[in-house]
């Protein structure tokens, strides 16, 4: 359909969301439709703005991780990890190898959990109720692991400045092995039930195309960009927490770019689940001995200065800028969140798709609204 044709068509307006949408959080789309076709779609956010950056200026340094993890509640380890890395840069602390290994393990576990939750929303968006239940069942295993290790199922507050809050419990390593052993064959079952199903693949093909040029100009990172052929992985480019060992592995196992559509983004995430399982199974046996948390000064003060550090969260590059005036509280905390850069591209992606595709496309982008709003 040509552009001229679109203008002369009669259009009507409809809201999509903020409730009932498939992004994780209240995302509202102001859609102009022509029949079943989306002519224009404007995302509207702000329903979840909690003023986290402002609140950070009132909290003590020690209490910051418990707030930052609420920025992206589906991969809360990564937020706290980025913050801890930044503050450690300011305090000039070296982290023990054991704490680093534990951090790597929890970060990969959290990535798997977040990606499996993505599969759930994706299956729900395409009406596959049963498959979505299957994914939730398997995410439960990882939640149980986290419950055992950190004491919570979603808001872990586990990574802290100087290491991690508590040491690996007895039996955690065996249980992780069991979980990896359990998840690997389950991926095959997902393939049979959903990912190879022609109804499913056909409705995702050629919908929601995210161009590589858009990824570069808007600096979209994470699985979305990797599915579009813009390989940008902080784990490989500027490794932290011992990701140096897996640099080659991550660079080697890149999925070839085909269409950069919704289906590709789904497959990229399935690939990343496999990658993370692979990394986990190697790392879980390599946890060295040592202390899990460095001793910090009792007054809870952080030396004056600025620091900025990034990690690869489940949705892309998560950065935390920290500015301290040498006191008990932070001068300024700024969060660089991956979903925010997607916001301006969403109209382009949705334009020309059908109403039936909108949930699939939105779910495949894995937008976390809590990250955008902060």
């Amino acid at each position: 359909m040509s552009n001229q044709n679109m203008e002369t068509e009669e259009t009507y307006y409809s809201n999509y969301g903020p409730q009932g949408g498939l992004a994780s959080g209240p995302l509202k789309l102001k859609m102009t439709l022509s029949g079943e076709r989306v002519v224009a779609a404007e995302p509207d956010v702000g329903f979840l703005h909690r003023g986290i950056e402002k609140t950070c200026e009132k909290l003590q340094w020690v209490a910051l991780p418990s707030l930052i993890e609420k920025v992206d509640y589906l991969s809360s380890i990564h937020g706290t990890l980025a913050l801890s890395l930044a503050v450690e840069k300011l305090m000039k602390i070296e982290i023990s190898p054991r704490a680093q290994a534990i951090r790597l393990i929890v970060s990969e576990l959290n990535r798997i959990a977040s990606h499996i939750y993505f599969l759930t929303t994706m299956a729900k968006a395409c009406g596959a109720q049963t498959a979505s239940q299957f994914f939730l069942r398997d995410r439960e295993k990882i939640n149980n692991l986290f419950e055992m290790l950190t004491g919570a199922r979603l808001m872990y507050n586990y990574v802290c400045v100087g290491g991690v809050m508590s040491d690996i419990t007895e039996g955690f390593i065996e249980k992780t092995h069991d979980t990896i052993k359990y998840l690997k064959p389950k991926l095959k079952e997902y393939d049979d039930l959903l990912f190879n199903n022609h109804i499913f693949t056909n409705r995702l093909k050629k919908t929601g195309i995210l161009k590589t040029s858009d990824c570069i100009s808007h600096y979209i990172t994470g699985p979305n960009a990797r599915a579009s052929g813009f390989f940008y992985d902080v784990r490989a480019l500027s490794p932290y927490c011992g990701y140096e060992k897996y640099k080659e592995f991550l660079e080697r196992s890149i999925k070839p770019v085909t269409q950069s559509d919704s289906l590709d983004r789904l497959q990229q995430r399935v690939l990343e689940i496999r990658q993370s399982l692979e990394i986990l199974s190697l790392e879980i046996d390599r946890v060295p001995a040592g202390t899990y948390k460095e001793k910090l000064s009792k007054d809870g003060k952080v030396p004056k200065g600025e620091a900025y550090s990034v990690v690869e969260s489940s949705r892309g590059l998560f950065g935390v800028y920290v500015c301290s005036s040498g006191g008990n509280v932070a001068e300024r905390i700024k969060l660089r969140t991956p979903s925010l850069s997607l916001l301006k591209v969403v109209p382009d992606i949705l334009k020309g798709n059908e109403v039936s595709d909108v949930p699939g496309v939105i779910a495949s982008l894995d937008i976390s609204v809590s990250e955008i709003d902060r």
Partner: protein, 193 residues
């Protein structure tokens, strides 16, 4: 021609994949192996739901305070990000340890972050495995662990106890101050010089 062949092939493939999907759900219908096991927990019933005692040791539930160990040092109040703890202390029976008369935790505010339990120097404030915090009135969401305000009789008793203790202390000190002891000390100090 190839177009039609491709069309037929697509139909063949989709039919095959759909049959495969339908086949995948069979073991769940007829309950083969561990596949028929329900993963839903019948929560309020004890049939299958996980109860507090089944939870891992580190589980962070509602806060509890072993008030006899608590010294009222306010470390938890200082560190709490949502300021949900209220402590009021009075001078108690012992000089070193104050009487924690009010120790209120506002469960409706608490984010269960675990920082206070980490900060507690005596280890009295811990997370229990309890997770049921729903109540009928908002006022009930405050968990009180305090010992209560000290009454005047108690204060009087503590004063008397303190006095007797002080007296005993003095007597003991006197008893220790024997003449031999003082000479011995003198000797020591002389030696040092």
């Amino acid at each position: 021609m190839s177009e039609y062949l491709g069309f037929l092939k697509a139909i063949h493939l989709s039919g095959k994949s759909i049959l495969k999907s339908i086949k995948t759900s069979v073991p769940y219908f007829i309950g083969l192996g561990d596949q028929q096991k329900e993963i839903t927990e019948e929560y309020p019933d004890r049939v299958s739901a996980r109860m507090p005692e089944d939870l891992p040791a580190r589980f962070r539930g509602i806060l509890k305070n072993d008030i006899n160990k608590c010294s009222g040092c306010r470390a938890c109040v200082d560190i709490c990000p949502v300021s949900c703890i209220r402590i009021e202390t009075e001078p108690g029976p012992e000089k070193a340890k104050s009487w924690v008369s009010v120790f209120d935790i506002d469960i409706s505010k608490c984010t269960v972050c675990g920082l206070c339990a980490e900060a507690c120097p005596t280890g009295s404030l811990t997370h229990s495995n309890e997770y049921e915090g729903s109540v009928y009135h908002q006022q009930q969401q405050i968990v009180s662990c305090g010992k209560g305000w000290a009454t005047s009789e108690m204060k009087e008793r503590w004063r008397q106890e303190q006095e007797t203790k002080d007296l005993q202390e003095k007597e003991r000190a006197k008893a220790q101050q024997s003449p031999l002891g003082s000479e011995f000390k003198k000797l020591l100090s002389d030696k040092k010089e």
